[in-house]
Symmetry: none
Subunit: 197 residues, 4 copies
DNA sequence: CATGAATGAGGCTTCATTCAT
DNA sequence: AATGAATGAAGCCTCATTCAT
């Protein structure tokens, strides 16, 4: 049964996200996955390999999910709008993953985590390319694409993370609308203020 | 000498931020602070207390710093503008702190870390109040204040964290301008698109 | 197929001798013997039983081999001479076995290894008997038979073990001659020196 | 107190020699040395380092002890005689060390144990040099020095190891005399047999 | 017979914390 | 106040052995 590998990953993601990777023991993971401790090591060489697996697979999945969604859309603005929508929902539904990435990818400057760097930038780069295209086409304002991409990622993920505090009905919809408005039209009532500043 | 307490905190912040709290040993902290391992426990009851101290003090300091800056400013938009500017610079100059907060505050759902919740929300609440005031005064658009505050926090801190990748001269200034434009005027060239969406 | 049992024993002997019994895993043995790990346990109840088997069979084989060689010889001196010759060659050609015996039989004082004692002494006793006969017949000098037997065993096996360092051609022949000379005539040029000492 | 380091070494040597290095746990060593398990790692980086330490120190000590004894003696034969005497007594009184060396130095062909090789040969080389000198001076017969040295080492240590079986009074004296006779005059009553072979 | 996935006891090592100096 | 030697709980990982296929 290869279902065991998946059981372990699921269990690990949940515990990692609530206690942090370093505070989670292999024992705990194994228990939650209902396998023996030794079984863990049949499927993963080390605890860290499991983490790596989760991070890469998680971000890759979201990336693919989103790319499918935006492929058919016309215009960079429409694509960005979809990205906000989908990333928010994805992270909302996979809060554990989102928290894990925040902790282990953004919360590290460890040189050994060059993996983290690669994982992180692979997704950011996609955002960046959409922004660049939009600027070239005159659809988006001429702002630094990398900064915009990072900011977009940051606002969406932090909002997704803070949503467990308000699990009220329709909360995601409202959060999404707020983010869309914010990102596309800015926060001020009078645009002139910003433009001429 | 109470300078020792500060030496320990400084050392700890640096190591925590690069290796993570859980991977840092008291030994390492003591060595970097040039004190004995036993001395550590004169100033801090446990390793975790030190973490708590750093988080609270860090966010409190930034909060106070920023509040001083915006106290005299007129108008919520101006205040927000200053917040973006100051938070970005603060986190840029205290990347270690920013990374620590990202890891240990946002990357946790641990119930034991209710502290994290409090710390986090104390700062977010301040942002939120500025936004609420701005909306009431008609200066800002009527968006959900908590979401806006969280998004603002998220975009600024992630951008600050990613800036070590580009330490080129004037990078902060450009990043700040991009964030200001983004936040205040939105990303699209034609405002109508967003407004009427 | 009972060839599998032999394959396992051969594989085990090789690995045991190079890594030691305790550092060898059943997995490694099974792989080298090209059988499944479970198959191992069809032929041997435990890893230790395999060790016991190898030791007993190894020494028994050598004992039988040597007894065949000396049975027809006349005189204890001639028999001893043949023993030196054959044990040296046997251990040289079965260095793995020799190393295993050295490690696991001589290198132990474990009470549980009373087996080791038995195995060891069964071979030594044969030597001892030859020596005793030689003394009684006046062919050999009147020295303590057990000490002589042990010394003979020790010098031959250590020399055999150290020969992998010099795999040059004709090395065994030279080593054998040296041992024979040493054992039969002693090391000094003038016999009187020793006798009268 | 540095007495702890010595306590640990003493305890380890005893247990290693009776159960073998690989079957001995750090826990057992610590208990016997009456220190905490963690304390062990203050004095030794790993369990293997302790083994290395014991082997090197043990052989070095014996080497120095013996060199002191033979330095003032005149003639290679007299020196060899002293070597037999002292090595036998040393190994008899430090059976644990002798067994450890037999197991871990002679019982290995592990390439990683190049240390073992070095340790082993450092002592053997000394023997060899005495033999070479004796041959050059015409005091000893012209036999291969390395083989003679190895054989000498082997016969003495195996006899020392087997002496626990006969702890009767005066046993060492008798064993020593037997070895001396054997080594210096050979085993046969009639020398001619060997000489003319 | 043959296999290898599964298991858990147990080993090595680390580290937060204590305490005698 | 300052130190670092001492400790044992706890974690990661290995491996002999079992058992369902």
């Amino acid at each position: 049964m290869d279902a065991k590998r998946e059981r372990i990953k699921k269990a690990a993601l949940e515990i990692f996200s609530s206690q942090g990777y370093a505070n989670t023991t292999v024992q705990q993971i194994a228990e939650r996955a209902r396998v023996g401790k030794g079984t863990f090591y049949i499927y993963f060489a080390t605890k860290e390999e499991l983490l790596t697996d989760l991070l890469i697979e998680g971000l890759t999945n979201m990336g693919q999910h989103i790319e499918r969604k935006i492929r058919t859309l016309q215009g960079s603005a429409a694509k960005l709008r979809a990205i906000v929508r989908e990333q928010l929902r994805y992270f909302y539904e996979h809060q554990s993953l989102c928290r894990l990435i925040t902790r282990e990818v953004w919360g590290h400057s460890d040189q050994s985590s060059s993996l983290a760097q690669r994982v992180r930038s692979s997704y950011i780069r996609m955002l960046q390319e959409v922004v660049e295209k939009g600027i070239k086409d005159g659809e988006l304002r001429s702002l630094d694409p990398q900064t915009v991409a990072t900011a977009l990622y940051g606002m969406v993920s932090m909002v997704a993370l803070s949503m467990k505090d308000l699990p009220s009905d329709g909360a995601i919809e409202r959060a999404e609308m707020t983010l869309q408005e914010l990102l596309f039209s800015g926060i001020t009532t009078s645009r002139m203020v910003a433009v001429e500043a």
